[in-house]
């Protein structure tokens, strides 16, 4: 492989990882933008999403990489898989918000954040106790089609991941920009009190942000499974930290920022894995997080929500 091929290959890998992180980062950014809360349960909603997707695909009789689907069945299975995963994860998000966070709405200090840490723990351990801690084989029915671009390889699953990510992010952008609820979300992020006085049901806005964010985390979890062909109980931490870094890098509270940050983090991870060894990629990502927070806390695209300090 030439240096250019190597670069191209890492760009392809990085874009796929980036798509995954972007979707996950959106959940952090939506919730933070509205409530100024770092939602630690998001880490493991992602992991649960990966598990739900695995179980759903297995229910279709898919197992490992044995069964290859093409054409309509493939599209159908993928659609159903994403739909089920996203709906269930969104439901989990709503459940967390409605039952555990809403009672703490008026409480100042770290209580809501500590609650989300507790939720994250509970989700992790429920999966650990029911599905187990070992690495599971994630069903992947995609035909092994690959294109050679110079020395780099572009596989079908990467194309699929990109398409899904673009569709979801495009849909979200449309939703936030042009729908009534989307406008309500943006208004609430700017000023909760004013939004409430203008007749916006803030509770409903927060709940929908949790639903959307968690659903996107579910999609991201399924993409993780398709990309790595595995599902494991401890994947939430690394992916979550990267996605959070992505959200901060793009400017937390900022929807396009989360998308941009995710792609950048994906590219950084794939290239640092190439040049430093994957054992150090956590260190690199974490250093970026600290550097951005210290040097440019508003991120690349700036905060959407005003700084309420």
């Amino acid at each position: 492989m030439t240096a250019f091929d190597l670069f191209l290959q890492q760009a392809i890998n990085g874009l796929s990882l980036g798509a995954m992180y972007s979707l996950l980062a959106l959940g952090f950014t939506l919730v933070y933008g509205i409530m100024e809360l770092i939602n630690f349960s998001h880490f493991n909603v992602f992991m649960v999403g990966c598990m739900i997707a695995m179980v759903t695909l297995k229910l279709f009789g898919l197992n490992g990489q044995d069964t290859i689907l093409t054409g309509l069945p493939l599209i159908g299975v993928m659609l159903v898989g994403f739909f089920v995963t996203m709906t269930l994860c969104g439901g989990i998000g709503v459940f967390i918000e409605r039952l555990l966070l809403r009672p703490l709405r008026a409480v100042k200090g770290p209580a809501p954040m500590i609650t989300t840490i507790g939720v994250s723990y509970v989700l992790f351990n429920i999966i650990l106790l029911t599905i187990g801690g070992d690495s599971k084989n994630f069903p992947n029915p995609l035909p092994p089609i690959a294109f050679n671009i110079g020395g780099a390889v572009l596989r079908l699953r990467e194309i699929l991941i990109w398409i899904i990510a673009v569709l979801l992010m495009g849909g979200l952008t449309y939703f936030v920009q042009y729908t009534k609820l989307g406008k309500a979300i943006r208004a609430t992020a700017q000023d909760q009190e004013a939004a409430r006085m203008m007749g916006i049901e803030v509770d409903r806005v927060i709940m929908s942000a949790f639903f959307i964010g968690s659903a996107l985390a579910g999609a991201s979890g399924m993409i993780f499974g398709l990309y790595y062909n595995l599902a494991k109980v401890d994947i939430g931490f690394g992916a979550g930290l990267r996605a959070f870094t992505a959200a901060v890098l793009g400017g937390i509270g900022n929807v396009p920022g989360a998308m941009l940050g995710g792609v950048l983090i994906g590219l950084i991870e794939s290239s640092s894995g190439q040049f430093l060894g994957s054992a150090w990629s956590d260190v690199v990502i974490f250093s970026i997080l600290v550097l951005v927070l210290v040097l440019k806390p508003a991120g690349l695209l700036g905060r959407l929500a005003p700084n309420k300090s």
Partner: protein
């Protein structure tokens, strides 16, 4: 029912002095924990209890960071790891450089020894456990400072995720630095502690041999817990502890009251890290091995659960929390599991036989976190008990009105001639908005200057730029010939400029007395060492500070005095305003900046406060005042300055300004005369 039992049992002790009773109870508890392992005489249980001690010390350290200073640290185990690896590396057979004459002197003091494993002579480090303990505290504290310096400026919630990352990085570094830490396999052959000059055989007979018996570790651990409880309590009840709690309650107000935010956060971080570093040495000396897995996120989060369960900020609470969780893990869950298994056997139920609750430990951790946050946020043993509010009779008891009484107690201000505060050409911009445009303002020594103007005219911005809360984009602010622009809020206060806030920024969960005590922060000098050792000088300082605070509070007559130990969030609005003024006065200001001090007060209270400010001024205190109520302004001010859209539109005597056409138009609107009455009361 519990209450009835407790009352019956407590009857003989009812008449005892409560402080003495507490002392006796503590001594009794101490004797119990000392003889407990001897009575049980069970190696495994002693070992478990020794582990519990190390969890308690870690929880105590995390409590300083999270409970006292309010910094949510999710990677606390990293400092535990640093202490552990520090001791491990300097006693295990992993890092062994070649022997040379340079090492000889270290050999004499017993820090290294020459060994030969076939080949050239090598250095084997033999750091003593007893030296490692205090030095590990230092090393960990240094790491705490090095790591905290860039990150502690971050907002609280960001700090949580950054520490989370840090907690994850340290084990990764340990895992990937094979040559120093032996990677994932971990360090082996970490040395157990040694006694000095004591016959080892005697110790073996007494079951006190390190590395063989758990008993000596239990006692070392117990001593460590006692030491750290002592240190925590001493710090909590000192100038340092008050500063931490102020930061936890309201950072902006803490800065404005003279507390250097970064330094005090770093101090909390460093002391917390020191506790963890010491525990790390203890822990690996006991296990005689150190692996990266011993310090992962699970440990950090378990410690958080302990602190949350016991009560954030509660010293005894977190110890109880640590012991309870250890009890749950090592006794309760295994016992329940056994019970289920024997039930399963007799009932023939496979499901009951398969249950293993020990695996559920972490699930319970999560449930405890959620449950405590939803139902008992203050923890099992809250850091402070709620004090009942005054009853009607106490509230009605002779409320003293009028100006200040006892002002002579806090002294007079002797002022030089000339100007105290000189603001020249100060401009403040927020993005495109010019909040203050090239403002000039002068406050003479001993004068009262009032700043009035419509909402959004830049009055509070003026206060914020003087006190260092917002940055000026140009100009100069000289107080007492010291340039204030570029100083931090705490430095501004240190120069004698104290302020109140328009929206009242007290430390809501602290008492009236504590709030006023924090006001004196900049005038006291006790450092962390003094706070822990409490030498006579520190005792005297505390006593004087307390008297000073009481004198200040006494200025307000019966308004605040009966409410000394009340938490300020439960006070009436007017009383909170008074506490805020008392807090500012406690800092011995040369100038007092009052931001709408009578806002929200009824006419009688307004009058009372105006009288009080007047008597302060008569005692010589220079005052800069923002006020909407024109009758207050007329009564108090020598000079009135009118702001509109960030610019000064008029300046002069109160009566002249009232007649100024530009003022009437800007401030009172076009129908000036009609608006006058409304403005006077709004």
């Amino acid at each position: 029912m519990y209450k009835a039992i407790a009352q019956t049992l407590g009857r003989p002790f009812e008449k005892m002095d409560p402080i003495k009773r507490k002392m006796y109870a503590l001594w009794l508890l101490l004797i119990v924990v000392i003889i407990l392992p001897l009575v049980l005489d069970n190696e495994a249980q002693t070992d478990t209890m020794a582990n519990a001690m190390s969890y308690a010390t870690l929880a105590l350290g995390l409590n300083i960071v999270v409970g006292f200073a309010g910094l949510l640290d999710l990677g606390y185990a990293a400092f535990f790891a640093i202490g552990a690896y520090y001791y491990g590396i300097f006693t295990a057979y992993q890092v062994m450089p070649a022997w040379g004459p340079l090492w000889e002197p270290f050999g004499y003091v017993g820090l290294v020894e020459k060994i030969n494993q076939g080949g050239p002579d090598l250095v084997h480090f033999t750091l003593s456990f007893w030296i490692a303990m205090p030095t590990a505290a230092l090393v960990a504290a240094l790491f705490g400072v090095a790591f905290g310096a860039p990150t502690l400026r971050l907002r609280g919630d960001y700090l949580a995720i950054v520490t989370l990352g840090f907690g994850e990085i340290v084990p990764i570094v340990a895992r990937n630095s094979d040559s120093i830490t032996n990677g994932a396999a971990g360090l082996n052959g970490v040395k157990a502690p040694l006694y000095w000059g004591v016959n080892t055989e005697t110790m073996q007979i007494a079951k006190m041999s390190f590395g063989v018996d758990a008993l000596p570790f239990y006692y070392v651990g117990l001593a460590l817990v006692l030491l750290l409880i002592f240190v925590s309590i001493r710090l909590r009840d000192s100038r340092i502890g008050r500063a931490w709690m102020a930061i936890r309650e309201d950072e902006t107000a803490a800065g404005a009251m003279g507390i250097n935010l970064v330094n005090y956060k770093l101090l909390a971080f460093a002391i917390g890290a020191a506790f963890a570093g010491m525990t790390g040495v203890f822990f690996v000396a006991k296990l005689q091995t150190a692996t990266p897995e011993m310090f992962n996120f699970a440990v950090s989060s378990m410690l958080l659960v302990m602190v949350v369960l016991g009560g954030m900020g509660s010293v005894w609470g977190v110890v109880v929390g640590a012991l309870l969780l250890q009890l749950m893990q090592t006794w309760f869950l295994p016992s329940i599991t056994e019970l289920c298994h024997s039930l399963g056997e007799s009932l023939g139920s496979q499901m009951l036989l398969d249950v293993d609750f020990v695996q559920w430990t972490q699930l319970f951790f999560g449930i405890i976190l959620i449950g405590m946050m939803l139902f008992r946020r203050e923890g099992l043993i809250p850091a402070r008990r709620a004090i009942p509010p005054l009853n009607m009779q106490q509230q009605a008891a002779s409320v003293q009105r009028g100006g200040f009484s006892g002002l002579e107690k806090i002294g007079r201000w002797s002022n030089p001639k000339g100007n105290a505060l000189e603001v020249k050409g100060v401009t403040v911009k927020f993005g495109g908005l010019v909040a203050l445009n090239s403002l000039d303002l002068v406050v003479p020594w001993g004068g009262v200057v009032a700043v009035i103007g419509p909402n959004g005219s830049g009055k509070s911005t003026l206060f914020n730029v003087i006190t260092g809360l917002v940055e000026a984009s140009g100009g100069s602010i000289k107080f007492n010939d010291v340039e204030l622009i570029g100083l931090r809020p705490d430095q501004v206060l240190d120069n004698g400029v104290a302020r109140t806030f328009q929206n009242i920024r007290l430390f809501p969960n602290l008492t009236v007395l504590e709030n006023v005590m924090i006001g004196q922060h900049a005038r006291l000098v006790t450092g962390p060492v003094g706070a822990v050792l409490r030498p006579p000088a520190v005792k005297a300082e505390e006593k004087k500070a307390n008297e000073w605070a009481l004198d200040i509070i006494a200025l307000f007559g019966n308004r605040l005095k009966p409410r000394l130990t009340q938490v300020v969030s439960g006070l009436s609005y007017a009383n909170r305003r008074r506490v805020e003024i008392a807090r500012a006065l406690a800092s011995r200001p040369k100038i007092l900046l009052l931001d709408e001090p009578t806002a929200g007060m009824n006419p009688a209270e307004t009058l009372e406060l105006a009288e009080q400010v007047k008597s302060l001024n008569e005692a010589g205190l220079t005052v800069l005042l923002i006020e909407h109520k024109l009758d207050v302004v007329t009564r108090l001010a020598n000079t009135v300055i009118v702001l509109d859209h960030g610019e000064k539109i008029a300046e002069g005597l109160p009566d002249d300004v009232r007649k100024n056409e530009a003022v009437l138009e800007a401030y009172l609107g076009r129908s000036a005369q009609a608006g006058m009455a409304g403005a006077a009361h709004g």
